[in-house]
Symmetry: D2
């Protein structure tokens, strides 16, 4: 899981904080039936990049609170929207090879999203000549890797991916990761896609090898879902409400960075190692993994539908 830091993982959150958005193009689509909003942020130049604190590229955010409740019909719709956005972001040739990478620690539920997506992928790269007849011409070559996390492997995650990519020679890498949000309300309700790559295991104070077009030689799409907030964010969000209620403006007037740092500082040292998740976190992560894997299976394979995915993978 990418650790929380001030420059939030969610480009959308950054955008909300911006006064000036030159170099940043934003398109918003609403699906009222579903209660879903898709925001496509394109950072087009260094001005926008500086303003957003993010590289030039595309940042698509799908927000829908139905993704954390047990509503299979809504989940199917979300998968379809996601699949359309993914297809718009990276047009694929027929003979493309795609490497799906499930980042994160499978032993820690809120961080297991990436590995769980991998387990639900329709993996086909190894079938080649032995493809079942009913799948022929309908699937692209897809591989799936769960590299683990450095604490379990002793190897920087990017090293594993680079080593495997050198042999698999994919045309596109798609990395799925659980993120930490800056707002409690974003947890398990937001999916962000970007084409600017990812730095597995990065976060506060960790310098890590980035995975992007420059370092891997092929496009790297990142799909992230905030599945936790850290303790300091929770306190900060609560404090906002509290101080307004009490009409105390001392903290209110503080710079947003300074206040976050102050709270981190006065947190119980025990709490620094804690995370905040919904009680039903196991069920929610399973649902999110289904939504994202379905979207990828539809977007990556030209002749596969949601129904087929059930047929071949359930």
């Amino acid at each position: 899981m990418t650790n929380p830091n001030y420059y939030t993982d969610l480009a959308l959150e950054n955008h909300e904080q911006l006064q000036d958005d030159s170099g940043v193009e934003v398109t918003v689509e609403e699906d009222e039936t579903l209660g879903a909003t898709v925001t496509w942020v394109e950072i087009t130049n260094p001005t926008g990049s500086n303003a957003m604190g993010k590289p030039i590229g595309n940042y698509i955010t799908l927000e829908c609170s139905a993704m954390k409740t047990p509503d299979p019909a809504a989940h199917e719709e979300i998968s379809k929207i996601l699949a359309r956005k993914l297809s718009a972001l990276f047009p694929l040739e027929e003979d493309t090879t795609i490497l799906v990478v499930g980042l994160g620690n499978w032993q820690v539920t809120p961080d297991a999203l990436g590995p769980q997506v991998c387990e639900r992928m329709l993996v086909t790269r190894h079938l080649q000549d032995e493809m079942p007849p009913e799948l022929q011409g309908r699937v692209r070559r897809v591989a799936a890797l769960r590299p683990g996390v450095m604490g379990l492997t002793g190897i920087e995650t990017a090293e594993i991916i680079l080593g495997v990519a050198k042999r698999v020679k994919p045309d596109l890498i798609i990395a799925i990761d659980a993120l930490a949000a800056r707002k409690t309300s974003r947890v398990n309700t937001t999916i962000q896609i970007s084409d600017t790559g990812i730095s597995p295991g990065a976060g506060l104070g960790n310098k890590r090898t980035p995975l992007n077009h420059k370092t891997v030689g092929v496009p790297v799409v990142a799909i992230g879902v905030p599945t936790v907030v850290d303790a300091a964010t929770l306190v900060n969000d609560t404090m906002d409400n509290l101080l307004h209620t009490l009409e105390l403006h001392t903290l209110d007037a503080m710079d947003i960075d300074a206040r976050y740092a102050l709270i981190k500082n006065v947190l119980d040292p025990e709490a620094g190692n804690m995370f905040v998740t919904p009680k039903e976190v196991d069920a929610v992560i399973t649902r999110l993994a289904h939504i994202i894997a379905n979207a990828l299976n539809i977007a990556l394979h030209p002749g596969i539908t949601v129904e087929d995915v059930g047929r071949y993978l359930s």
Copy 2:
């Protein structure tokens, strides 16, 4: 898991808040090598009971931060201390039947402590005549029940236990449950034992059938470990530190109850359904279950040692 409420589940915390402790006898033992403290609070009369907000009875609290770190030698020592205290609390006849009840939801890691303890119990009630020769005369009749939680069963947990107890006819019931703490630092570092029974599933706004000597007809010992704090407690603890740092005394001066209620009120509604756990919660719960099950196996069976437990159960 018992929900957090102002009258905390930990008698120890109540005691710390008391000015006046008449009707309350407290004995403290320290084990310096282990860094462990055992506090035995005995509430002896209604005055003590009113002051503590807890029934008359015994409340033993073992605090040791080694229980949340991977230190098997320390865990063995903690199990032995715990076994001695359990034996002091309930002297057992040779032919006693004991029903161990693992409360909580096995699908939610921090609430799975009780069920996990059950899985590590040396269960013997069914062996009777077919007892392996090397165990004869060394074990008491022990049964273990995981009743589940009402959301999964549709049955109030106390109903299940009362129904089974009627047939098993135990001389003693020991119920293990995960609790919610009022202090972040107590999470996974404290084990509390009491002989005043338990109300499975009780908490804020839930009235539940209590299990105690009066309702079941036999003594009910409760063993609890705080494995989470709720979001409001985390914020409250952080606030304490923050306000002192900032020398703001508005909130400081507030009544402790009023402040907790205020914070609960201004919490993001999403956060109300969240809990705060350490990242390595799965490993910690497994360790705690080992510690408690070992202690029970030693305390309940007259001729069983820590080594035997490994032999018969690993």
Copy 3:
């Protein structure tokens, strides 16, 4: 899991072995699209009972090899057929309370079918007045119990069920269990329903308290799926084929019981403790649990469809 014995758990297999079927009425329905066969065997009198080695009552067997392959559309059809048969077997009043019991050991995958069905039940008995408005009038009162197995609890399973039933006061008990088959081909392709009750944990040499109308006071429906064969059955089945191939008739001429006993006798003692399952046993048990839980949810709740089940339970 009920242990294999000569009097097989599958009434259907007994019937195939019968020469004379007076007192036994058999109706067979085929669903050609699905490749499913439903056989309803009704044992109507003591002659039939003696001939079949089974009590008087109804034995419904649904055979369909699609249930062990990943085919959600077929599974949905199987659930619907099963729901219709269950409804025909036990007509329900509107205010009926049903106790669903998931027999078996959740730690042993092929025996975990019953517990897994429980986890997918739409449990409603505890909701009563707080029923969500959209469910009002559409659901009956359903409770679900996973009693565990005697090796884990120290308590005979029937004792637990009788104790809980005394308090829950159900009008009907439905017990789900994994069985051992007498034919390798039956594994994970057959669901049997009967209204004659069940003896949890019974099998070769184990006398157990039966659960049936007489012992519990309410009807007891048993739903069983053979999920394993024992090693001796596997050898026996193979031997049949082998001896015919070799035209050796020494064993062929042996009494069927004597031959099974002989094979059990010469089995490697290690193999006696072994069971034979498909490689993908975890996935198959999960699928079977879905099929049965969906069927029960539809059959027990008057206003619930397969789609709703997804909505409330996924």
Copy 4:
């Protein structure tokens, strides 16, 4: 899991079948207290290699039935013996980097041995400068990889390992895998070590890239444990006993290969996809993973004992 074939995975079994063992040196050690036998088979030349059907190299087999029962003290002794043999097989420099590879499918219990060993390794390669002071000078650089199986990844397992090895640059690779045995009695009682490499995913009809000194450029040690037998082996073993009992010698006189092929042929097609495991397979695999991981942690790290392993990893 390596599929069963006539040329069994266990060199020991081959050796038992040999009449002539020139080019094969065998040393046998017994530990009577533990009931363990260590057989070190060294194949020294092409004659031995042809006779054994295995490459030139060392094959160490540790047999001890205590490894499948819950006996922690015995397991510790087995780990120590194993560690000594591993150290004798590959003397290590102080600054050696070792890559431990856990082969197999973590979703299939009897095949999950390799991945489970990885989870218990004391992984240190990433710590480097930040090594905790109490570990300095006591540990070598160890990394651990769980590559998955081709059905889950779409990538040949050897490709993943070769890609990662190119970046990690280990001096030694140790691969752990679950095997299929030719004798029922070998299941979960035998550990085999060899220094001749491994072909992940190979077996009947599968040609796979081998991992050995020639293909990877560094020594490859394989550690295997037979955790299943296939259905044909079980039948074959039983038949041996049966035919002797019946004094039927038709099959007895058959060539051992021909008979195995015949049995495979007459097996129920359903049984071909089945495997035979002990009922308590989950617990047994966990125990075996502990034994092997402990042995590796002691053998790979110069200053680490069994006690330390508990301390740093439990």
